[in-house]
Structures are given as C-alpha cells and as structure tokens.
Amino acid sequence: MAEVTYLEALRQGLREEMRRDERVFILGEDVGRYGGAFKVTEGFFEEFGEARVIDTPISEAAIVGAAAGAAHLGMRPVAEMQFIDFISCAYDMLTNYVATARYRANLACPLVVRGPCGGYVRGGPFHSQNPEAAFLHTPGLKIVCPATARDAKGLIKAAIRDDDPVLYFEHKYLYRRIKEQLPEDGDLVTPIGRARLALEGTDLSIITYSAMVWKALEAAQVLEKEDGLHAEVLDLRTLLPMDDAAILETVKKTNRVMIVHEDTRTGGVAGEIAARINESAFEWLDAPVLRVTAADTPLPYAPTLEDFVLPQTADIVSVARKLAAY
C-alpha cells in the first residue's frame, strides 16, 4: 500500500491501462512532451512514445471526432480536455456523433473524454465549470465523477474498458488535496453505474458526487457532533447510468433526502434525481427532497463571490437541519 493523491491515482490508472492494452492511446492539447496542463500524463510521452501520447492542435471537436473514428476501428482513445470547460466546443460531436453511433449505425465508440472540472480554485467562469448536466440529457453517453483517489483510479480503468463512450470528470480541487492508501498491485476497477455508501446513517440521506462528497462528510460530522443527527452520505460516482437501486435504498432507510451538487441549480443533475425519487419512492418520503447547489450564475472569480455562489459545508448543515426538523 502506498499513499497516493487523487491525481496520482488517476495517472496510475491511465498508465496501467496503457501498459495492459496497446489499443489505448491518449490525445489532447499539451498532453505529450509537456505532460498535460495539470501533469496528469507526465512521463507518458517518455514511456509510451509519440504515437500513443499525441499532442493535438487546439481543436476540441477534432480531438473528440478523431477519438470516435479511432474507437470505431477498435482503438481505445482517451481524449483530454485541457480544462473541462472546453468540452463545450465538442458538444455537437459528443451529443450528435459519439452518443448516437451505436444506436443509429451499430458502431462501437469506446472512447473516454476526461478533464479537470470544478471550482473552489478561483478559476473564474471558464476554468471552473461542471458540465455533467449538459450531457446527462444525452442517451448513449456514460458519465463518471470520482470523489476519491481509489475511484479516480478505478473509474478511469473502468471507463477505458467500457464498450461505450464515457465522460470522466475529474475534480481539480481534489487533485492534490485528497490522498489515500491504495494497493500497489491488483486490478483496481470501480464498476460504472454503482454508487458507494460513503457514510452510513439513519436520520437523513445526502446524495452527492465528486468534490461535494467531502463537504457532505464534513457536514455529517458537524450534524453528528452538534445535533446528534446521523446523516447517510451516498456518493453516486456514476451519473449516467444512475444507480437507482442505491438511491432507493437510502431513501427507504432515512425517508429524508437532500441532493448536493456543485453545479448551478436550475437544470442541474439534482432535478433528475429528485424526479426519480419522487416517481419511485414518493410514499417513503417524510419531507420534500431538498437541493443544495451553486446559485444560478456564471461562476465569478473573486474569492468572496465564488465562495458565496458555490455550496459550502454550512449550507449542507443548515438544509440538513431543516430537513430533519420537517
């Protein structure tokens, strides 16, 4: 066992897959000689060579489109978006070409698009985005959002092995802040589509994913200490397809649910989850499903503003109290 960061875990996962399967290759801006803007692919160029770690022009649509073409022929491309915010430039390619390939043309399209998402880093409106809601709406895609180092590794490996296109959103705030002991050998794969119970509890459920898992756990500690409340924290890990069984289970257990995400509220992933809970477990609810999310604004740069717009631990605590008291 060695302690590795979230970023190092991701890097390990990528490296192991590239060693295991020569069909795997990486393409993106500055991923080669430079090792990627956040150094996720550092050392890869040296180990795997230019043909498997490909620096591209600044062309997100072409990066994703080329990955799709390669995937059709049996390759396993992993495309990096330098910041995930730039995935919007490949929106057409992902939603219209990639996502539909199997359905409309029986074309396999096993590619991964990954990149750093998320705020709390003073990145301003174009280096902090959380694009999951924009793609949740697209049948044919899968979406994973690791919160832990273990899942950073396990989900990238699963994503690469998956026979369908997977969007892998890694949270840049967690890159170097999260550390975990991981086994040095053995094949650590996190199954896509399965949530993880991050904390067992009985009084209320916090359904969340990505960096918010940590805020939820922090909030749970406060609630336990200050209110004697036992919050359960469900880390979804995969958003598409969603682990409905795990959601149902926690709802049935606590009967009080809140959903926490970093993304803006309107049209965010929480709406979908709330609707599903409503449809499948209405009679189990003792209180309305509540949401803690970012406010509906572009994400501002100034620390005072960013902190105000993004969800904070205190927000989770306060909504949890409201829920518990309902």
Partner: protein
C-alpha cells in the same frame, strides 16, 4: 445500332487513361448508371409516398461520386465517408441497392433498422462509415480513422467528402487541420456543385476555387472536372497513392453541379434556367457514353447490357424492399448502450404500447 468491329475496340484500349482497363470502364459506367437509375426509382417511390422522409438527388454528380470512390482499394481496406449526394460512392464500395431502398422506406431490414434515414448508414466491412446530418463532423471522424491506419502501420487510405457549403463549418476546419498536421493518409474531396441549399458559392466563401483552401492547411491541392469520371478517377487515384505512400493529405476540388434542388421538395426557383440547361448538356453519363463509344472502349451492346443489368437488379431490389415490414416498435429501445441498463429503470416508459 451495330456493334463496332472488335479491331476498333482493341485499337482504342491502348489509349485508356489512368491505367484503367476496359472492364473497369464498364464498371464505372455500371455504377454511374446504377446510381442514376436507383435515384429515379426512389423518386418514383417518393411520389407514391413510399419514401418516408426527404429524398436527395445526385443527378449530374454521379461521376464525382463513382470516380472518386473507384480510386480506393477496397481489398486493401480503404474507407470512405459519404454525404447525401454520394450514393454512387456507396454503391462502388459495395452497398446494395436494396439496402438503400430499405433505408429510404425505413424498413426493419434496413442497415440502420429504421433508425436513420436515406444514405445515413455505414458498413465497416465494406469500408464506408455512416454520416450524421451535422455538416463537417465527418472530417474529424475520418481523421481518427486514418490516424488509426497510421498508428497501426496499415497501408490503408481514407477518403471523406465535403460540400462547398460544409467547408464553412468549424468541424471541417478542425478535422482538416488535424489531418494535415499529422500527415494522415486522407483524401478530402470537396464537391463544388455551386450551391449549398439555395446559397451560391460566393455567399459561402470569398475564394473562387475551393482548392485554394488547401494552402491554409499546408496540404496538396488538386482540381478536376467533376463531370469527367476518368479525370475524377485519375486525380483521386493519384491522391490515394500519395496518401498510401505516406505523403499525407490531398484536398481535391471536383467541379460539378447540383442539377436538382437541395431535396426533392425544393423547386430550385432560385436557379437561373440557362445555368441548368448548360449543365444538362454537360451530363457526366452522356459524356462518358460518348467517350466510351467514340474511343471504342465499349460498344453499344455492352452498355445496353449494363443498363439491362441495372434495370433487372433494381426491379428485384424494389420488389424485395417494398414488401418488407417496418421495424417492431419496441425495438426502438434497444442498443443505446452495448448492454441494457442493469435494472428495470424508472426512467423507461410507464406504459406499454400495443
């Protein structure tokens, strides 16, 4: 008409350009005729309301599609990606007319099982890949296909079509540039047919010739008469050979003309009558027939035989396709992912349909 004496045929064969033989010339003729006749059958079916969606014609552009696709080496695993006016390319690659009919009529037996329309279908085995409607998107995809050839050290070549209109898209630019930077074995065929929907070339681009765009990408540019099937074959073949030899991308402008409206519903009122008449006189099949017979490369009997073969094949295909059923409704839910969702998903329909 009496058949030419064999001697004349032999004499002329020596002069066939572009390294082609007589049998291949007849194949070219066959595919051009097949393309045109199949579209005529489709137009009939369309008028009878049997084509479900729109119908797109390549009348007058058959040489462009057939000649360029013919330059690929199917046995080497070359691949292409067609657009709506490249029915001819599909047929050359081995697509079956009956499958095209099934596509247009949305049959259960169609290559996309009724999911996609017209020539939006592909066949990896036969070496073509289905387009989507969003123009320009196939450039990056074909860059990825040819990147794979390159990475694997396979001596295969890719060919992608792009319209004069589609060249204005961002996707075209990004894919073209990526292919150029990596010297991918890709041939880009820019079909200059004068229009994109109702938009004339000078409202689409400020360059008088599409081939000039090659310079922006540092790739070789070529330009040919798109209504001369042998010229098309020749220019494409040289580009294919260069691509196979590792010399990278060629952008080929084929100058041709869209003789029908954008789709069957479009009455082309915006097109000058004399322009249409001029291009009618420049029909690529008529031209090729004249060339074949004048040069003694084929005799009338051979052409008639080809026509008869086309007619027979299409009779059978129309017959076969027409009677086939539409897809089963519930089949619509299959195949979004390789595996169906792990559990009965609450987001599936609440109700079952009859």
């Amino acid at each position: 008409m009496t058949a030419r004496p064999a001697a004349a045929g032999r004499k002329a064969v020596a002069g066939i350009p572009a390294g082609l033989g007589r049998a291949q010339l007849l194949e070219l003729y066959y595919f051009m005729r097949l393309t045109r006749s199949l579209e005529e059958r489709l137009a009939n079916l369309y008028r009878q309301g049997k084509v479900i969606g729109g119908l797109f014609r390549s009348l007058g552009q058959e040489a462009d599609s057939v000649g360029s696709a013919f330059a690929l080496d199917r046995s080497a695993g070359d691949m292409l990606s067609p657009l709506i006016r490249n029915l001819g390319s599909l047929l050359v690659m081995g697509a079956l007319p009956v499958d095209v009919l099934r596509q247009y009529m949305a049959k259960a037996t169609s290559p996309t099982r009724g999911r996609e329309l017209n020539v939006h279908f592909g066949d990896l085995e036969r070496g073509f890949i289905g387009q989507i409607s969003h123009l320009g998107d196939m450039l990056p995809v074909m860059a990825g296909i040819t990147l794979t050839f390159q990475l694997r050290g396979e001596r295969r070549v890719g060919l992608v079509y792009v319209g004069d209109g589609a060249m204005s898209t961002g996707a075209f630019h990004e894919g073209m540039n990526l292919a150029a930077v990596r010297r991918l074995p890709l041939v880009v065929v820019a079909e200059n047919n004068g229009y994109s929907y109702s938009t004339t070339l000078e409202r689409q681009t400020a360059v008088p010739q599409l081939v000039l765009k090659a310079r922006a990408y540092g790739v070789r540019g070529e330009r040919a008469d798109g209504n001369d099937v042998l010229a098309v074959y020749d220019v494409t073949r040289r580009a294919v050979d260069r691509a196979r030899a590792g010399e990278g991308v060629t952008l080929i402008e084929l100058v041709t003309y869209r003789r029908k409206g954008h789709a069957e519903h479009d009455d082309q009122h915006y097109v000058p009558k004399d322009e249409l008449a001029r291009w009618e006189r420049n029909d690529p099949i008529d031209r090729f027939v004249r060339q074949l017979t004048d040069s003694g490369w084929a005799d009338a009997g051979e052409l008639e035989a080809a026509d008869a073969r086309v007619a027979g094949e299409l009779d059978a295909a129309v017959q076969a396709a027409q009677g086939e059923p539409l897809p089963e409704p519930a089949s619509a839910l299959e195949g979004v992912y390789v595996e169906p969702p792990r559990q009965a998903a609450p987001w599936q329909r609440e109700v079952t349909r009859g």
